[in-house]
């Protein structure tokens, strides 16, 4: 442990806990972060295979790879998986691992709640996956428009969807509360909010977005479940209900959710670009406030998903304006990132390539997003492949490229080893080219009149060529992802030693060893500037250029004592398992009620044990 000073008895490491049990009961934010990451990568592969099956089916007119029934399950589960089981948990993985490290904290505010969040997410993912093996996965779209989602009560597929999303929402709300509390109460001395790293800022904004948006869809999901199983008529027009109500509830959550997916990636890029340009983030305050602005405005644009629903011209005009307006803070960020590179000393390693790729691709998605605010044009684009192209530029070119940039950036901190650069660059270029070949043609397909969610198209519609190109592109893309998996596996085993600070980093996570000790920091750091670690290493000369410090900076870091770490606990996983059993029972009401009752007992047992658990002060 490089940063440990020998001969300080207070800091002798306790025995490192090993084995499966240690991972299941862990409350260490770093281990929970790793669990989130590995689980999400697993689901990334699952969702990717679903995507490839979709592309193979559509490679030629009247494809016969999938039946209509299988296709509908695939596109529903591809979206559900990628949104809830990949991008959100990958962002949660980084937030878990790096939020405390960036803030100079020893853990998150509620370590056992953190463990509960992970295990609910894990069992929620399993719950959705189980559906494939018991009569078919959800097939009504990830957006589950009523009354299609409430229509066929003989089949339980959409019950899996309604309950699965519900439980994943519980996990997200719990971790949001946790992150918000961590940010507000656990920052190191001197770490004012405006000195907080941008990634931590974006994590905070995302946590608020989730906290306020999830309850709305939770109400809607309960209503769907009740309509399906209890004979309520919330969304049944014939019974006095309103199917459009569901669309409002879903998109009131669904649009903030879009920013939940992209803001963490923007935060990552805002860390990576300054590091590899050796310059501070240009207009840092602007970037942070535009992130906050996006968060607020994200709640005022939901109806642009409903421009063909028939809201009336006044509402359509209003939402057209709000949608245009939200492009402004987004554009500001892009210009500030350009300003960050400008005049820097840019290192083209894999992490930086993914960050630059993020900007290049996000610009495309952003511009096509503006075309959706042109309501008349949107009436052509809506529910066509043009929209599929748009949001894949934002969510694959944006969120996934940003996340990959973060993986290359932080992998050394987590594992102590660098990810291979040669495979890394192959990984980048294959994904970049594959991504463009896959999704650029979809703009054309959509404008040429191909609707989404169609399992086949006939000959003579002019859709053949672009579909084939997209399928070829998706295979290249998949190969790029495969290279990443190979790279990660090899680098984990035999990658080059990273050391604590391989990139000449700027933020606090680079001050500690790689991987960090269980308690993160021997002494709680005292923060005196933005990019505090950089300022400990570099001063500015008369022309404002960075020059290495020759003097040793005297920093009044905290005392070397009283390290309090959370104890491992079995109760979070037990509670989460109880919820899983409860849900499985609910799918099969009425007889499943018995299982649900058992599940509730298990959950209560877990929560009771949790509340009675003695707070053991670890002998560190």
């Amino acid at each position: 442990m490089a940063t440990l000073t020998a001969g300080t008895p207070a800091l002798t490491e306790g025995p490192v806990r090993r084995g499966l049990w240690a991972w299941i009961t862990t409350t260490d934010h770093k281990r929970i972060g790793i669990l989130y990451g590995i689980t999400a990568i697993f689901f990334f592969v699952v969702g990717g295979v679903e995507a490839l099956l979709i592309r193979l089916q559509l490679a030629t007119p009247n494809g016969e790879v999938l039946s209509a029934d299988a296709y509908n399950q695939m596109f529903t589960m591809h979206a559900t998986t990628m949104v809830f089981l990949v991008v959100m948990p990958l962002a949660a993985a980084f937030a878990n691992y790096f939020l405390p490290l960036q803030l100079g904290a020893r853990d998150v505010a509620f370590p056992r709640l953190n463990s509960l969040s992970y295990w609910i997410f894990f069992f929620g993912g399993m719950f959705l996956t189980v559906s494939f093996f018991v009569g078919g996965a959800p097939d009504g779209g990830w957006f589950g428009y009523a009354p299609l989602s409430t229509q066929v009560d003989e089949v339980v597929r959409m019950d899996y969807w309604a309950l699965g999303l519900q439980i994943l929402g519980v996990a997200s709300i719990a971790s949001s509360v946790n992150f918000i509390t961590t940010v507000l109460t656990m920052r190191a001395p001197g770490m004012t909010l405006m000195r907080m790293p941008v990634f931590s800022w974006m994590t905070l904004v995302v946590a608020f977005l989730l906290l306020f948006s999830l309850p709305m869809v939770a109400v809607g999901l309960f209503q769907v479940f009740f309509d399906r199983n209890l004979g309520t008529l919330f969304f049944d027009a014939a019974g006095g209900g309103d199917p459009v109500l569901w669309q409002h509830l879903f998109w009131l959550f669904g649009h903030p959710e879009v920013y939940v997916l992209i803001l963490p990636a923007m935060g990552i890029v805002s860390e990576v670009l300054p590091t590899f340009s050796r310059k501070p983030l240009f207009g840092r305050t602007f970037v942070i406030f535009s992130g906050i602005a996006i968060g607020f405005m994200g709640f005022g644009v939901w109806a642009h998903h409903m421009f063909t629903t028939g809201l009336g011209p006044v509402a359509e005009a209003a939402f057209a304006l709000t949608t245009m307006f939200i492009a402004v803070p987004t554009g500001v960020k892009i210009f500030n990132w350009l300003g960050t590179i400008w005049g820097g000393s840019v290192r083209f390693n894999s992490s930086m390539l993914f960050a630059l790729g993020f900007i290049a691709l996000f610009v495309v998605g952003g511009l096509s997003g503006v075309t959706h605010s042109i309501v008349p044009a949107d009436s052509q684009q809506h529910d066509s492949y043009y929209v599929v192209a748009h949001f894949h530029y934002v969510l694959f070119g944006g969120a996934i490229f940003g996340i990959f940039s973060g993986i290359y950036y932080w992998f050394p901190k987590v594992t102590g080893r660098l990810l291979g650069e040669v495979l890394g660059k192959w990984n980048f270029w294959l994904m970049f080219i594959g991504m463009n070949l896959t999704f650029a043609p979809m703009h054309m397909l959509g404008l040429n009149g191909m609707p989404r969610r169609t399992y086949r198209y006939g000959e003579g519609l002019g859709f053949d060529l672009w579909n084939l190109v997209a399928t070829v592109g998706s295979l290249i893309l998949a190969f790029g992802v495969l290279l990443f998996l190979v790279n990660a596996f090899r680098s984990y085993r035999r990658g080059a030693e990273a050391g604590p600070d391989p990139w000449d980093g700027r933020t606090l996570e680079w001050t500690t060893s790689s991987p960090p000790p269980e308690h993160n920091f021997d002494r709680v750091p005292t923060v005196e500037a933005e990019d505090d670690f950089w300022h400990r290493k570099y001063a500015e000369d008369a022309e404002g250029r960075a020059v290495p410090r020759t003097d040793v900076v005297e920093v009044a870091d905290g005392p070397e004592e009283d390290i309090h770490l959370p104890s491992p606990s079995f109760y979070p996983v037990l509670s989460a398992f109880g919820m899983f059993v409860t849900l499985m029972g609910l799918v099969y009401v009425p007889w499943g009620i018995v299982a649900s009752a058992a599940g509730i007992v298990i959950t209560l047992w877990g929560l009771f044990g949790w509340s009675m658990e003695p707070l053991v002060k670890e002998g560190h």
Binding site: T308, A320, G331, G339, I374, N448
Partner: protein, 373 residues
């Protein structure tokens, strides 16, 4: 971390991208017919959208080129040089610049907003009495379209016939889940929502066939829920209406007569044929801007003039004897459906069941259907 392999792999990447673009352009240049193309408007409503689209498109292209060039330029111009001392000027920002690049997008968006808002209201306007609009009710079903012409007392399925150059004002609603009516060459799409009536105006400049399909995911056979619009000259349209107004009849003799006997037993539970005993509709209401309107909707496509249609099964199959034979032998073979979930009493039909018809019965039914021209 300077990486020796970097320039070469970058060049390779650039070459690949360039090759891709060239291939794509080449392919696009020799592209074939696009009967559902939103960029090839065939009526004034679609043209308004198209004009607006190109305005925004070219502005977006300019921004795209500027931003991407700035990105590429900055990345290469400021790449780390070998032996660089990395003493980079630590610029933290520039308020004037940042305010400027906040204001510029606002101005551009304001410029786009003006025609956008006026087009929104223009496209949503209700036609005045002087336009003598043809009103048609469009009812979405899983997975076919019902078109009612209240003015003429006729009904078709999946194939909408309209006169050229006349405003056609559609009232859209749905008998089950949400669908979306979309004929890209004539206008944008509009949802058919159960319990509500939405409106859409379509006008065709010229006689012709305009293809479309349901654009809101509506379940199993969403992809096979297609429709087409036939635009006719005024005279041809009047002739078509007169033809459609003729009732069908119950043939008593020959193969068609045998067909009718089977039809009467098997098909009349769901299908309407005007002028025969096959009459089955249900009533439904929907809210049209605060006014409740009643609709008498069919359970399955009206077959009165089936023989005159060019397609069937959600306009997905050519109306040929071979296709009909395959369909009648087992409808779900041609088009995925779940008739086992049908509940006609509740008005819920999710496809045509397989009635286990023998080959000679099928021939008789086909003969009957061809009789109803």
């Amino acid at each position: 971390m300077p990486d020796p392999s970097e320039p070469r792999s970058t060049r390779r990447g650039v070459a690949l991208v360039a090759l891709t673009v060239l291939l794509a352009l080449g392919a696009a240049a020799c592209s074939t017919e696009l009967p559902q193309n939103s960029l090839n408007p065939a009526g004034p409503e679609a043209r308004k959208i198209d004009d607006l689209w190109w305005l925004v498109f070219w502005i977006a292209v300019v921004i795209f080129v500027l931003v991407e060039s700035a990105l590429i330029y900055a990345a290469f111009r400021f790449r780390r040089r070998r032996n660089s001392d990395d003493r980079v000027r630590q610029v933290h920002g520039n308020t004037r610049l940042e305010v400027l690049w906040t204001i510029i997008p606002v101005v551009i968006l304001a410029i786009i907003a003006v025609p956008t808002l006026s087009t929104i209201f223009d496209l949503r306007r209700e036609p005045g009495p002087e336009e003598n609009a043809l009103e048609i009710n469009v009812i979405g079903h899983q997975w076919w379209w019902e078109f009612e012409y209240p003015e003429y007392g006729i009904e078709t399925a999946n194939e909408l016939h309209i006169p050229e150059d006349r405003t056609v004002y559609l009232s859209l609603t749905s008998a089950d889940v949400i669908h979306s009516f979309w004929v890209p060459q004539l206008n944008g799409k509009r949802d058919a929502v159960p319990g509500r009536v939405n409106h859409l105006t379509i006008i065709a400049d010229e006689p012709g066939t305009y293809l479309g399909q349901c654009a809101e995911f509506c379940g199993l056979a969403h992809a096979d829920m297609r429709h087409r619009v036939y635009a006719h000259t005024a005279d041809d349209f009047d002739a078509w209406v007169a033809e459609q107004q003729e009732p069908a009849f119950e043939p008593q003799e020959g193969l068609a007569g045998q067909g009718w006997q089977i039809f009467e037993i098997v098909c009349t539970a769901c299908h309407n044929v005007r002028g025969t005993s096959a009459q089955v509709t249900r009533t439904m209401t929907a809210d049209d801007g605060g006014v409740t309107r009643g609709f008498a909707v069919s359970l399955a496509p009206d077959l009165t003039h089936f023989g005159s249609r060019t397609t069937f099964g959600g306009a997905s199959f050519e109306n040929t004897a071979d296709h009909l034979r395959a369909w009648l032998a087992n409808p779900a073979d041609l088009k995925p459906m779940t008739p086992e979930l049908n509940d006609p009493a509740e008005g819920r039909i999710l496809g045509m069941p397989n009635f286990g018809l023998e080959a000679d019965e099928i021939d008789a039914l086909i003969s009957l259907l061809e009789t109803w021209q």
